[in-house]
């Protein structure tokens, strides 16, 4: 009953919760086109360092970036749990984001997300629009447009 009330006064957004090391990040599910295992990646020379290259996803060539490198975290070997989240903000341009693990799909009412203004001086906070509270801990909500470089930083 209580949940229902929350639902009525709050907009609930579904997030894909992914992990990088011990940290949890939430990706708005509306922008997620697909989640795939890591296929063969073709390196592209002379591009931004966090781009790992391009992959073939059912006949489409899609660039993929490492979220770890983007966030200045050390790279780790891909494991059986490593996934690429295919994001489509612009319907005609897809991009893949490599994460350590996909944990779950989670409903988060807006009231449970504490809004944050991206902090230019703190690299760890560039790409975060808010922090969601869940029973399992905190989930940083990614500002996808900034992450994939659609929007310039500050």
């Amino acid at each position: 009953m209580q949940e229902l009330e929350v639902y009525e006064e709050d907009k609930v957004i579904q997030y894909i919760v992914v992990n990088l090391g011990i940290e949890h990040y939430g990706i708005d599910i509306r922008y997620v086109d697909n989640i795939v295992r890591v296929p063969q990646i073709t390196r592209v020379p002379n591009v931004q360092s966090y781009f790992k290259g391009v992959i073939n996803l059912r006949g489409e060539v899609i660039p993929v970036m490492s979220l770890r490198l983007k966030f200045d975290m050390p790279e780790i070997e891909y494991t059986g749990k490593t996934r690429i989240i295919i994001i489509k903000i612009d319907p005609s341009a897809a991009i893949g984001i490599i994460v350590d693990e996909v944990e779950e799909v989670r409903d988060l009412p807006e009231s449970m997300v504490e809004k944050k203004t991206p902090d230019k001086n703190d690299p760890g906070q560039f790409y975060i629009t808010g922090v969601g509270k869940t029973d399992k801990g905190l989930v940083s909500i990614l500002d996808l447009a900034t992450v994939i470089g659609e929007k310039e930083i500050g």
Binding site: Q40, P45, F51, V54, V61
Partner: protein, 712 residues
């Protein structure tokens, strides 16, 4: 009346007419006595007016009507072609184009009355025809009436021949309906309506006829059926039976009041006639077998209405200027072709997969020819042919992109007060539709550039002993898998030293650097954003946006542009464009274990170079090849990978060319030639233009495409 379904046809045809007007008016200006040109103009203006009227575009109709009046006066010799008249007519044409553009964007003609142009046209018409003004109307009228009557007379002599309504076969229920109507005191009429053969929207006309009849009654049956009439599936005539209250003359007058209706014949039916209509009809149809043949032969089954119209026009009583037979075409939405193209691309990828699978099978299976390999080869040739066929469908002549230039040069001539002449050759050269759509602007920039910067003013030209009239040329031709478009002039050419001093003056480069730059480098600065040579900013060119936009536009189409210039003799901009965009033949190479594709178009030869042949010139590695010194570029360095080859081994150099410049690209291994489908890398990756795209290989792996032009 809802005419929105005709909007597309209207726009297409209006544009064609505008183009005809523009072309022929230019001819007329040069040759004021050219009867063909004036006839052609008159025809186009007349059709345009009729169409505008049908569609309810009153302003457009008024303007074209007034233009037509002028042309009519010129045609009948009452008015002579003056430069003043042509100026106003060209203004009027621009205004018409403006209307059509507004209609295209908003489906409404807007509210610009263009009164000044209309007044000007009328003033010229009055003064041009002088006292004959009054007579003109009188003289013109009979001429037009005679024109309208001519075909009518030819056909109307035996009335029964035209009364095709007698041929309509009525079924029992229709007969009963008609009889009931007569019993209840109404009139039953049979009508055959003839639409002028020049009519462009005959279905719309027929619709208006039905509407006119329905004001006083009902149409019971028509031949062809009303659905067919609506779909334009009829010749320029149709027959019907109607039940009306009004008497026959009134109904006939109502029908004739619809414009572009040539004639209507009809009679009142009695009960007896309804029962036996075919008796008369038999003789009627027999008496005109020839005419029926004539009418039925060019039935527009192929969907090519203009062609059919042309054939009929020349066969009929009216004699418009004989035009070459229009090729049979259909209009296809480019999106449908894109879909087809994408499917072919998919097919080629799938084919490549099968090819590589078949090859590995043969390798493991001991090398014997198996049926799979043969069929794969068959599949390969079919897909290649299919690809070519689809590409050809997408090819259109560059004519549509260049046809507006003669008019533009004429305007520039007046604006710049320089005498100039534009010659265009090769306008039938074909390019992919998307390229043709995009190439117009860059070419326009180049022509303006030639007119403004290239050609000297008339006084200087005379002083230099050049012909007074400057020449601007546009030559298009196909060169292998490329289309080359040269735009140039016989003007002053680029003064390299002047550019050099401008570079220094503008602080674009230091004096030292500028003095060291080669002539070619200096000329290339002209293509840089924000650099303009114009001494004063004109509205024609010289705002510093121009050549850089030209260059980036052309490069975005996968082409490139270079300049050849000789001081005092003129300059030529050479634009090179790929014939196709999506699928190319490529050489697959391996560098540092990675696979790359290089477009076969840019490759001249492949050389095996002993290490000892490599020389150093200015710290750069070069080789001598048949007398030419060619710089070599080690792709492993450019691409940031370790070469897998030993330093002492012979080098494999792929010799590529950009224009006249050659370079040798050093690769580790050659894989062979392959047809590849170009895919974009997307907008998120910023690469340094060396990689122009990617492709998917038969095994699903992604290989990058190296743009050799960016390396040279």
């Amino acid at each position: 009346m809802d005419v929105s379904q005709y909007l597309g046809i209207f726009l297409d045809e209006a544009k064609e007419h505008i183009q005809v007007l523009s072309d022929q008016m230019l001819i007329l200006e040069q040759e004021p006595d050219n009867q063909d040109a004036i006839n052609e103009i008159f025809r186009a203006a007349h059709s345009l007016k009729g169409m505008a009227g049908t569609m309810g575009y009153k302003r457009l109709q008024r303007l074209t009507h007034d233009m037509e009046d002028c042309f009519s006066a010129v045609r009948s010799g009452q008015m002579s072609v003056t430069s003043e008249l042509m100026d106003v007519l060209f203004q009027a044409l621009d205004a018409i184009e403006g209307y059509v553009e507004t209609i295209q964007n908003t489906s409404d003609e807007g509210d610009n009355d263009n009164d000044s142009i209309v007044n000007e046209l009328n003033r010229l018409l009055k003064s041009g025809t002088g006292e004959n003004g009054g007579q003109k109307k009188a003289a013109e009228k009979p001429a037009e009436e005679a024109k309208a009557e001519a075909p009518a007379k030819a056909a109307s002599a035996p009335d029964s021949e035209k009364a095709e309504y007698r041929n309509i076969e009525l079924d029992e229920s229709q007969k009963n309906t008609l009889k009931d109507a007569i019993v209840s005191g109404k009139h039953v009429y049979g009508f055959t309506v003839f639409i002028q053969e020049t009519c462009l929207l005959k279905a719309a006309r027929a619709f208006l006829v039905f509407k006119a009849i329905e004001e006083s009654g009902d149409v019971v049956v028509s031949s062809p059926s009303s659905q067919d009439i609506e779909d334009e599936k009829f010749e320029f005539r149709f027959s019907l039976f109607a039940i009306c209250d009004a008497d026959i003359e009134k109904v006939k007058a109502a029908i004739m009041s619809v414009s572009e209706i040539e004639d209507a014949v009809g009679e009142e039916y009695t009960e007896d006639m309804i029962d036996s209509p075919s008796g008369d009809a038999e003789t009627a149809s027999e008496s005109t077998p020839e005419e029926r043949m004539l009418e039925n032969a060019p039935a527009p089954v192929g969907g090519n209405v203009p062609a059919a119209k042309e054939a009929k026009g020349s066969g009929g009583a009216k004699k418009p200027a004989v035009k070459p037979v229009v090729s049979r075409t259909i209009r296809v939405d480019i999106e449908k072709l894109d879909t087809l193209m994408n499917l072919v691309s998919e097919l080629i990828i799938a084919k490549n997969t099968i090819v590589s699978a078949a090859n590995s099978d043969t390798q493991t299976g001991g090398g014997g020819r198996n049926p799979l390999v043969e069929n794969v080869e068959y599949l390969e040739s079919v897909t290649t042919n299919l690809h070519e066929a689809v590409m050809k469908v997408r090819m259109v002549p560059i004519e549509s992109a260049v046809q507006k230039f003669p008019r533009m040069v004429r305007d520039l001539e007046k604006k710049l007060d320089k005498k100039m002449n534009l010659t265009i050759t090769g306008e039938d050269t074909e390019l992919d539709r998307t390229v043709v759509d995009e190439i117009g602007d860059p070419l326009m920039h180049l022509i303006r550039n030639s007119a403004d910067h290239g050609l000297e003013n008339t006084a200087t030209r005379i002083e230099r002993g050049k012909p007074e009239t400057g020449t601007i040329f546009l030559n298009a031709y196909q060169d292998g898998n490329n289309v080359v478009i040269e735009v140039g002039d016989d003007g002053n050419g680029i003064d390299v030293e002047a550019v050099r001093s401008k570079i220094i003056e503008r602080g674009y480069a230091s004096e030292e650097t500028a003095n060291q730059m080669s002539d070619k480098d200096i000329i290339n600065v002209l293509f840089d954003p924000g650099f303009s040579m114009a001494k004063q900013v004109t509205d024609i060119s010289g705002r510093g946006v121009g050549l850089d936009v030209v260059k980036s536009n052309i490069e975005s189409l996968g082409g490139d542009v270079e300049v050849k210039t000789k001081l005092g003799e003129g300059s030529t901009f050479i634009v090179r464009l790929p014939l196709t965009l999506a699928i190319i033949q490529a050489l697959m190479v391996i560098v540092g274990g990675e696979k790359y594709a290089i477009s076969l178009d840019s490759i001249t030869t492949i050389e095996d170079v002993p290490v000892s042949d490599i020389k150093l010139v200015q710290q750069k590695e070069v080789i001598q090849l048949r007398g030419t010194v060619i710089p070599i570029i080690r792709l492993s360095n450019v691409l940031g990978v370790e070469s897998t080859k030993d330093d002492s081994e012979n080098l494999v150099a792929v010799i590529v060319k950009k224009g006249d410049t050659l370079a040798g690209l050093v690769v580790d291994e050659l894989m062979g030639q392959q047809e590849i489908v170009i895919k974009s890398l997307g907008k998120y990756i910023n690469n340094d233009r060396i990689i122009s795209g990617a492709t998917i290989l038969g095994d699903g792996e992604v290989a990058l495409i190296i743009d050799a032009n960016a390396l040279i």
